[in-house]
Amino acid sequence: MTRTSAAWLLAILALASCGPKPTFRLTTADNDRTALTSALAKRQVPSSPAPVNSAGKPRAFLVLSGKPPTIVAYDLDATTPLWRTPADLDSRIWVGGDFIVAREGHALVARDQTRGAVRWRVDLPGDFIGAAADRERAYATIHDGARWRLAAFDGASGKELWHADADGKLGAPVAQDGLVYSPYLSQWLGLVDGKTGEQLTRVRAREDEIAIVRATSQVAYYGSKRGLYRLDARSASGTRADSTFGRAVIPAELDRASYGRDTYDPVQVSYSAADRTRVLYAAEPIDTGAFVFASGGYAIHYFRYMLGFTSAGELRWAYSHPRVELVASDDTGAALVAISATGELVALDPKSGARLLSRALSPGGSVIGATFDADGWAPDAHDAQPAQTSAVLSGIVADRDARFDRVKELALVTLAKQPGGEVTKVLIDVLADPRAPQALKDRASDLLVVRADPDSLPVLVAQLAQRTDYIAGTEPQALPQVARSIAGLAGAALAPDRAEAALTALRAHLDAPTTQAPDLVFVIAAMVAIGHGSERPALVSHLWLNHAADELGGDPAWAQAIVHALADHGGPGEREVLRQVAADPRTKPPLASAVRDALAARSD
């Protein structure tokens, strides 16, 4: 380093040291277990899960579309709204002790939680990053010029209590029982004393960014789309292995689902489509090992659907909301609650998916979002309705809404794990449905072919009854897939009458002049698979009829199929027929060649 450049560096450092240091800065220590334990101990965590509001009542704050929007507050145990009021909302709602807070216009506005009246209003300069509230205070993060600032306001008066600046990007804050969690530069989670603004400590996840922060009344979580950490003393390790880290197995078809609001995404400051694609979860408290999902699993809210999964990622129940989307959802620990666009409140049992409650709140408008304050709440389940998972999955598959094509695939794959003719019928219906998306048809085709379910044989035979008929205007549907599915039953114990019916139906297609050569290949294979020799006369007749025909006799695939069926699965009589066919000068060359090759490959 030259003397000149060293002098410049000293000058810059000297300038940088001027003025108060920001609370959030790069050089602060992190992952201090003692400090973290101490900070977490400052929380006034309730002994059991409970709402934040001072009344301890389960509440929901619905926002109805309109100019201006309308806030409607509900006590979830009651059926009538607590209050409603128009509000120039520019954000979601956060719930404090006896107030709610939201951005209205360019101000942070607190409203009395029991009446909805404006309690105080504080102008917020700059870009609004997000807000939060606990029982006593409201918090807001803004970005103004080069500065990010987290500020606290008294819940009763709106008086600014403190502010803490940052030299880099802050995410939206999350409050919990006197602590404020403030994401910083996507790498740290600052734990700030809600009373003083002092950053007590901060956590850094070395293997993941920290973009998502969620707090219940007792537990806080942080992480990203890649996984989730339970905030506890082990978080000080900074590693997945030594933290309470876990992740839900999110099916690729539901890949928009996330563990919570992205605190850096300005769109998610307001209610958005992201609120309709949520992983809903709670964690068991543990001292060692990985994250353990409460109730043995988690759920994914995906627009109209709520799907429950085991911790291993196996779908265990499904709920489909009729007609309209669920616009907001939450895991209270005791129930999964959601509100639909038309204002129906739904509560499901997290483990079984049983519908504990379905109540029309009739808010008087279209719901665009909602905030729940209902930790620990579950409705009285005296009239719980068990989950109708198979029916729901079938309904999802048949759903005409093109936005859910990938969900349909997931439903189909899940459904196909169950044996039985009803599921087979669903697969066939997809194949026969001209409006079904091609990707879904491809999945159905694959699933049907590998199904190998003897109990489905009557359904497959019924499908084979559909034939080409000019007058009726019908065509066979899914013939190759059905034939391949039957072929998959080779070696299975089939009731003789069912096998006979299947052979008869297959023979009808074998003999039909409209069955194309590629389909005949599968029909022949299916007949061989279940015929145990009884199919041979029909196949011999088919061969004699078509050995000199241009369309079939000249088709190598058909030739291979029929020759293989008779040479390798037939007896001496069938092989003698093959010799005669090969010797017939009218036989088409591809067929004659296939016969000669097959017979030459055999020792007899």
Partner: protein, 172 residues
């Protein structure tokens, strides 16, 4: 064997088999003819329709009516070939249910049959034609008048003349 060839992949082979099988009185052969009426290839359906008429396959009536509704000329001719007095009434009753041109072709073909009768049945066919507004109905009536000698006088011819006169009378 003919029945097997009626299911051959080549349409011309199927059509030939149906033509050959037409006069076999065996119920299985008649079923093959009926099945041929459902074939997706028009030439095969036409062969089956001809076979149905030639073999007087009454089991084919329903399928032939279905094809008549689709406007198939071969079905019109086949029904005409099968028609007796009762069937001709049944055909006439399809007024409004099948294309008028097809119905006119069918009824006209019935009138062209020298073995169709009695004349009272012909009168009914002529009147059925008279209900049709399609120009082909007028042509069918005209053809019938032209093909039928004036003497001995036939009520059916007279009825046809009356209907044609009523239709063309206002023409310049």
């Amino acid at each position: 064997m003919l029945a097997r060839y009626a299911g051959h992949h080549a349409p011309n082979v199927r059509a030939a088999a149906l033509a050959a099988i037409a006069t076999y009185p065996d119920p299985a052969a008649r079923a093959v003819v009926v099945a041929g009426l459902h074939d997706p290839v028009a030439s095969v359906r036409a062969a089956a329709a001809s076979a149905a008429a030639a073999g007087r396959v009454r089991e084919a009536e329903d399928a032939l009516f279905a094809l008549l509704a689709k406007g198939e000329a071969s079905a019109a001719l086949a029904l005409a070939g099968l028609a007796d007095a009762d069937l001709s009434r049944k055909i006439a009753d399809h007024f409004g249910q099948v294309p008028e041109a097809s119905l006119a072709a069918c009824l006209g073909a019935i009138l062209r049959r020298v073995d169709f009768g009695p004349d009272t049945a012909r009168v009914e066919v002529v009147r059925a034609l008279g209900k049709l507004t399609d120009p082909s109905a007028t042509h069918a009536l005209t053809d019938y008048i032209d093909a039928t000698p004036k003497n001995p006088p036939r009520p059916s011819r007279a009825e046809a003349e009356k209907l044609v006169e009523a239709r063309v009378g206002g023409a310049p």
